[in-house]
Amino acid sequence: MLRKMIEIRMFEERVLKLYREGFVQGPTHLYVGQEGVAVGVIEALEKDDVIISTYRGHGHGLARGVPMKSVLAEILGKAMGTCKGLGGSMHAPISAELGIPLATAIVGSGIPIAVGAALGFKYRGSRNVAAVFFGDGAVNTGAFHEALNLAAVWKLPVLFVCENNLYAMTTSIKSVFAGESIAARAAAYGIPSYVAHGSDVIEVYETTLKALEKIRAGNGPAFIECRTYRFVGHGAYDLGTGYRPREEIEEWLRRDPINMLAERMKSAGMLQDEDRKKIEEEVARQLDVIVEEVVKSPAYDYDKLPSLVYSNPV
């Protein structure tokens, strides 16, 4: 889990660098600071569970094992990307093979789609689960409420994971959210709901296991609200300052998910400072090689695009 979180952090930092150098164009939403959520949840899932991701999804893909090279190539719009470069950053984690059929660029819209995927599992009598990630902004959409209600009515195996990073773009949750808490909204639909500290990957992992146990027992969906924080802006263009108090940023930086796990492992005698350094050096070298290859690689053949619109072009 430590290595996965470090990979995501360093990958995203490299993406930001490439963005600033002009190699990455278009909307690019980074996962820096939220690593504990993706890694904690996805480690707890099984291989044939389905994941519905979002436009802030690089971390979900990497946590699931989508190769860094494919994700980076997608972000750069290259043919060797996960989606042949046709999706870009916001759809980069899509991997049908690894059970990520969708990363949506529309806030809240993946939630009902996960409900349908769960219907597929229930229909086949499988014990698998459809897990869906979304942010605090999504909980004010109609799609969220329709989907939670339907999943609860049909008792479907959905794991709802809200990554509450406190801001929808630059708008504080305090100014747009009514009610007690996000988790309480799920409870209103009779869905068992949990709150986890998103910076504590172990807590996220254990909470997910608890929620999954409930779901796999056939009682319908479960909901986890992970309180987390972007250490960066909404998009790569945004510094993330200005609309967020400095004390708040500093407070969350002190709860860096990678440091928190590393400290915990050190005090348990499972990790030395050199070990972490070694991982970081390895990942950096890996990224150097990948970046060089991806940057030079070509975009997909434009003339082949029409054949991807329909499965059987008429």
Partner: protein
């Protein structure tokens, strides 16, 4: 081939039923579709035959209905979701247009979405501005989606079966007027006993003629057939083309006919501005201009919402009278 008469509704019901018998992965859900058998009985008795695992009533949640259809299609099922009125599809526009139609393309071809969203529009039934509109043209801006709109029982059955077997998302538009109005040509008609499919993407020449081509779709095909009969009495031979599939459109059949008749009327239930007829007419102008001997006439609803008053609605709609008038003017 043995043939019997079925209504439009019965033919649709039979088509869905046959596909559910044939393929365990086909499921049906939507508002009122299970216990009540559908407001218009298109899904009548499916619950009885296939049980609550395969035929499900939903809450009034159009976003979740289409979203769940997408998710189910991603995960091995072949869902047939119903949205009660075409107007309500607007609530799920994001799911249908921004998700279903694009997901195959934007994933680089990784996923397929074998789903059908069935809906109906009720122009001609005095349902008022919000339960009436034929919105097909709006969805033509969503390549990746297939759009089908049958005009007869035979086509309805053959096309719903093809739509269910198709690996792409299909918006299947039915006509509420054809559900209920016995006077329409498309209300009841011959349907083969044997199994058959009608291919998506193929228009159909419903009546042959050399003098003028009338391109129509859905409810308006019934109006065009009446008009063609009356025109024949006056010595004008109209060729009626039923589009059947709106997207991808069968331009070839249209152009072939225009080459023969040199005159074109496009008659359909969109509002005229930016409607389906605009696409057909501009395509013919672009690719078959030299064959035209007269300007194209488009017959549509005027650019205003539908009035509820049956008397006013009749004036608002394309009718056989209007088609006869237009054709008479064209051949003069």
């Amino acid at each position: 081939m043995a043939v019997r008469e079925l209504t439009y509704v019965e033919a649709l019901n039979e088509g869905i039923r046959e596909e559910m018998r044939r393929d365990e992965r086909v499921i049906v859900f939507g508002e009122e579709v299970a216990a009540s058998g559908g407001v218009y009985k298109v899904t009548k008795d499916l619950l009885k035959e296939f049980g609550p695992r395969r035929v499900l009533d939903t809450p009034i949640s159009e976003i979740a209905i289409v979203g769940a259809a997408i998710g189910a299609a991603l995960n091995g099922l072949r869902p047939v979701a119903e949205i009660m009125f075409f107007d309500f599809v607007g609530i799920a526009f994001d799911q249908l247009v921004t998700h279903a139609s694009k997901m195959r393309f934007m994933s680089g071809g990784q996923v397929k979405l074998p789903l059908v969203v069935r809906t109906q529009y009720s122009l001609g039934r005095a349902y008022g501005s919000q339960h009436t509109q034929f919105l097909a043209a709006s969805f033509m801006q969503a390549p990746g989606l297939k759009i089908v709109a049958p005009a007869t029982p035979k086509d309805a059955k053959g096309l719903i079966k093809s739509a269910i077997r198709d690996d792409d998302p299909v918006l299947f538009i039915e006509s509420g007027a054809l559900y209920v109005n016995r006077n329409y040509y498309g209300y009841r008609g011959p349907v083969p006993e044997e199994e058959y499919l009608i291919p998506i993407g193929k228009a159909d020449v419903k009546r042959e003629g050399d003098d003028v081509t009338v391109v129509a779709v859905s409810r308006v095909v019934s109006e065009a057939m009446v008009a063609a009969e009356r025109l024949a009495e006056n010595g004008v031979k109209a060729e009626v083309i039923d589009l059947r599939t709106i997207m991808p459109m069968d331009y070839q059949t249209i152009i072939q006919s225009v080459r023969k008749t040199n005159r074109l009327i496009v008659a359909e239930d969109s509002v005229k501005t930016g409607g389906l007829s605009a696409e057909v007419a501009s395509h013919v102008c672009e690719y078959a201009f030299d064959y035209l001997e007269a300007p194209i006439i488009r017959l549509n609803s005027p650019p205003m919402p539908a009035p509820q008053s049956p008397e006013l609605e009749r004036r608002y709609m394309v009718t056989a009278d209007k088609i006869v008038d237009a054709a008479t003017r064209l051949v003069k």
